[in-house]
Amino acid sequence: MADEKNPPADNPYTQIHVVQSGDTLSKIAQKYYGDAALYTNIFEANRDVLSDPNKIRPGQKLRIP
């Protein structure tokens, strides 16, 4: 078992958050991690669908590692 073997993109047990209107990565990080500053973890886990951490849209499904 190692993170490099099961990155979030391939892991069906990685939590998914459906972006709601008004969401930001910081708010999402606050919700799941208790710390908005950890939003980079969410951004990195979703580089295949996010090019800019400030640009998310409602309905997007984001992995929450």
């Binding site: 078992m1 190692a2 993170d3 073997k5 099961n6 979030p8 892991n11 069906p12 047990y13 990685t14 939590q15 998914i16 958050h17 459906v18 606050q30 919700k31 799941y32 991690y33 208790g34 710390d35 500053a37 950890l38 973890n41 590692p65």
Partner: protein, 199 residues
């Protein structure tokens, strides 16, 4: 005593001895056959019917004792019961062995998907635990104790998974799947405690 009486006595004695010797070969063959059958099922019997095996061994020891004392009549009288006991032992031990094999084969089918699935559950939990460990605060519903329990849970799940994998490698899929299911159940609980269900 008259000579003729002595001759009669001697003749009678000879007949008796000959009669006993006539029973010797059948008695020895019967015991050898019983031992051979018992040997062929001993491994399975030790595993699946140890108490019955112990009883049969005791019976066989008694018969062999009679054989060593030359009591061939007693040996032959005891053989039907001994053979019945050995056959019953063979049948039940073999049936249990086949049942266990069928259960193991079924478990082997379950092991494939489980061996892919469970590590992913644990990895997802590990990832969350690692991130929460860096957090200055914890999310709603997650306490320091919850996080500490999750960390220790991940360690125990990894150790248990090692044992499950070893069992599978050894061909004991029943044990492997049983352990794997326990890990899966534990992982589900930990995920719930960390709020890892999808919204």
């Amino acid at each position: 005593m008259k000579k003729s009486s002595l001759w009669v006595l001697a003749a009678l004695a000879a007949v008796l001895v000959a009669g006993c010797q006539n029973q010797r070969a059948p008695a020895e063959q019967a015991v050898a056959s019983a031992e051979s059958t018992l040997t062929s099922v001993r491994d399975a019997a030790m595993h699946y019917e140890p108490d019955k095996l112990q009883a049969v061994d005791a019976q066989l020891t008694g018969v062999k004792d009679s054989l060593s004392k030359g009591d061939y009549k007693a040996v032959l009288a005891a053989m039907p019961a001994l053979n019945t006991a050995i056959n019953d032992l063979r049948d039940t031990a073999t049936a249990k062995q086949q049942e266990a094999q069928a259960a193991n084969d079924k478990a082997k089918d379950a092991w494939g998907p489980m061996s892919a699935d469970v590590p992913k559950m644990v990895d997802a939990i590990q990832s969350r635990v690692d991130i929460l460990s860096k957090s200055h605060h914890l999310p709603k519903g997650v306490t320091k104790d919850t996080l500490a329990a999750a960390k220790s849970g991940v360690d125990s799940m990894k150790a248990a998974w090692g044992a499950a994998s070893n069992a599978a490698t050894a061909g004991d899929y029943s044990t492997a799947v049983s352990k794997g299911q326990a890990i899966r159940d534990q992982a589900s609980q930990v995920m719930q405690s960390l709020g890892m269900t999808s919204s």
